[in-house]
Symmetry: C2
Subunit: 476 residues, 2 copies
């Protein structure tokens, strides 16, 4: 049976006298999310300070069939943490403790509400690297990172969050505390239950504590930007660089020429660190040990790029010679305000096998231009960049029209064009509420049916983040 | 409701006229497993040649509530693939095709019955590395590797099988084919269902096809053996080497002094590549690009070891100077016949945080000596080695007695001593039938209850590998 909708704040505060529930005006003083400045909505806001409090609260909600929306740093791109009027919000923001950095076992145990950057800094002080890094580092929380299986810029070398989580503690919808705080790299003792809670967007349990694997800090970083004259050369160049740099290649980001030209437009964007007009650009990082700066990383990177130029894989290359130059290269990839300023601008996050990428992008771009040939005297645009080595592209579609159908049409172009290539409608951002109509592009009915069976087994009353990822069927 | 026990071969052959079922004498012509040469048992043996055949067969078994035991290469160490009299065996050995090596996307799609080494060789021919490697490579199958989340010697750098699987196809106990053949590094479109089938030892579904991630081959490999005079130095030396070698450090195997001395005993074992008598030894591999052999890997490794000697982290070091010398170093770690010849010899596979390892090993060794002080005029022995960087130890216990209680007593010493350290009774070998009495050391009742709920949800009739990992309760 489905959960009943929650009632007004006054009633809730009466029914939950043991918990400190904040009223709607406190909620409305916050923005809906990082992406939406409008006042947030919800019947009440609860900020537990311990796992026990999360558990006791959920036991009540389960008994009374009250739906609960879970929030971390509210930086997600798929609307997964946005509550409606009348919904109970549980935010993990008060559970921020870094409980233990085990320098011998190389793990950190942390509460879910800790901000990613806070944790990165804390482990860096001990000489470790937390390999997870993404743009929202200053606001997003570890719990949200785990619940959404966050990706980011180091996935090529270190994997997504799933690869860093050794153990976790989660509270099930009925309040049961599941403690799987494993600290070893290897543990094949029974089902690996933590996998259920990683990337399921808080629909199966509330992640309260996490044990993460730490890596040795690699203090030296070299950054290079290269140009390529054909897409076929991108995967060949990637293989070439991995053969030369091995595990030292930590980032490999592609930018399509249109994107690069748009963000380096003279007078409007960044200084162009390399001639504009090439069809493709790749930005890459090589990291290693500081003691070998000159003899190892510098030399190897220079040699590998020289060989790539000789072989005709790339047509131009620059290596940053200072921290300032590194920043000037990365800003071209990370700051795309020149594009997003052209409102509306729709951001997409898809993945597909690299061999189909160029065909796919060309098809999307052609449809965008055909659909919006001359709004505001401009042709519609589709700018593309992404974690190409991971199969992950981000697309910015600018239709130059405010018409209400622009977003649905852009969605259709991006997702339907993906169908023949076995691609994913979400590479790293999740499905949330925003993309669930398109889940069927990536997952078939058998898969979604099994997802529903899992949801029904673990949350039989459907109270935890209801309606995320997929809708339940009449059977519930 | 539990599955009914299967009936005799004649009856089964009659009930399954569409399938080629082999009788018990064909089964008995095989060994039970790699570890047990006695004739295998079972009511009938079915070797499907396609996913469709697996599916149709399981649909029948589900309808008639017939239990099925799934087999791959039968090299598992926990008895997970051993069938009893009257049980139906399904072996994936006839589904061996390597369907596609995608050189651009760097993936391989393979049927579950393919032998690991066959696949390693096939991808190596194209310049790729399949990072999974373990002793049973010549017999074990990819399906078995996935079902048991195999580990091995490259986990430190590349992770366990779970990290290599991008997608898979599995047949559920009722015959439903779940096709999740994702080929991208990133795909957050809904629950990551493949995780259910990785490491659950074939109790939730039969893995029939797998998409694995490939890495660039790193053709050069340097091997070193070092001695250490205290255990505290082992984790410090590991950090030191990872700081210097970064992703180039691919193996880091520890041997306790007693082990090293036993396998290099003059006249009985291998030539000792380094003086015997040190308390600890570490064997390590550094891999990289052949083009940089002399200037990079050789130099960095030599420098890093010299610095470790200067800092007092290690007391001695040798680097192999030829393939022959590399082999002579690794044979000390991989060939322990001098120990296993002292029957009975019980092999264990545990993991625990590195900071507790030495205390744990000392406590186990003391109990072994106390329990078996002078059988056959020898003190009981416990030899220890393992993938120490992964928290994973293998213990060989030699009680020098054939008494029937020796194994249960050794089990108790190994597992009960593990309890205070949050260790795992299986690091990489799985639970199977053999260790399920000890699962409670590592997983609590809440976790096991959730495992049972998952099993019941996906295999409500309990027909797939019944009795593996945990027993079902009366509720089923």
């Amino acid at each position: 049976m489905a959960a009943t909708p929650a009632t007004a704040y006054g009633t809730l505060a009466e029914r939950f006298p043991d918990f400190d529930l904040k009223p709607p005006d406190v909620i409305a003083a916050r923005a809906t999310s990082f992406w939406d400045p409008s006042p947030a909505r919800g019947a009440c806001l609860f900020k537990p300070t311990s796992t026990d409090e999360v558990s006791r609260f959920m036991r009540h909600c389960h008994e009374e069939r009250l739906p609960v929306v879970i929030q971390g740093g509210r930086t997600g791109c798929a609307g997964g943490a946005v509550a409606g009027d009348g919904q109970i919000i549980m935010s993990l923001e008060a559970m921020t403790e870094i409980e233990e950095i085990d320098e011998t076992g190389r793990t950190v145990t942390v509460q879910a509400g800790c901000i990613l950057q806070t944790l990165q800094d804390a482990v860096a002080e001990k000489g470790f690297l937390l390999p997870l890094d993404l743009g929202a580092r200053g606001s997003c929380t570890i719990g949200g990172n785990v619940a959404t299986n966050a990706g980011g810029i180091n996935v090529l070398r270190y994997g997504m969050v799933r690869a860093h989580v050794l153990g976790l503690e989660a509270v099930l919808p009925d309040g049961t505390v599941l403690s799987s705080l494993n600290r070893m790299l290897k543990n094949n003792s029974g089902y690996d239950l933590k996998q259920l809670f990683i990337g399921s967007e808080g629909t199966l349990g509330i992640v309260t504590r996490v044990v993460l694997r730490l890596e040795e800090a690699q203090p030296h970083r070299d950054t290079a930007l290269v140009a390529l004259d054909r897409f076929d050369a991108v995967p060949l160049f990637l293989r070439h660089m991995q053969r030369h740099l091995g595990g030292g290649l930590t980032a490999f980001e592609a930018m399509w020429g249109d994107y690069y030209d748009a963000v380096t437009l003279p007078g409007h964007g960044h200084a162009a660190p390399m001639a504009r007009g090439a069809p493709y650009y790749v930005l890459l990082d090589s990291t290693g040990n500081a003691d070998n700066t000159e003899t190892m990383n510098g030399g190897i990177l220079t040699d590998a790029l020289a060989a790539a130029l000789d072989d005709g894989l790339i047509t131009d290359a620059v290596i940053a010679k200072s921290a300032r130059e590194t920043e000037n290269l990365w800003i071209v990839r990370e700051n795309f305000e020149a594009i997003t300023a052209q409102t509306p601008c729709f951001l997409y996050d898809v993945s597909l096998p690299m061999q189909h990428m160029d065909t796919y992008v060309t098809a999307v771009q052609r449809q965008v231009r055909q659909k919006w040939p001359a709004n505001r005297e401009q042709e519609g645009q589709c700018h593309v960049l992404g974690h190409v080595a991971d199969g992950n592209l981000h697309l910015f579609i600018c239709p130059f029209t405010d018409g209400p159908d622009a977003k649905p049409v852009a969605d259709r172009i991006v997702y339907e064009t993906l169908t023949p290539y076995g691609g994913a409608v979400s590479a790293e951002h999740g499905i949330g509420h925003d993309k669930k109509d398109w889940l069927g592009i990536t997952r078939d009915e058998t898969e979604v049916a099994l997802m529903r069976r899992l949801k029904r087994t673990i949350d039989p009353r459907g109270i935890l983040n209801p309606g995320l990822i997929f809708d339940m069927t009449g059977q519930d």
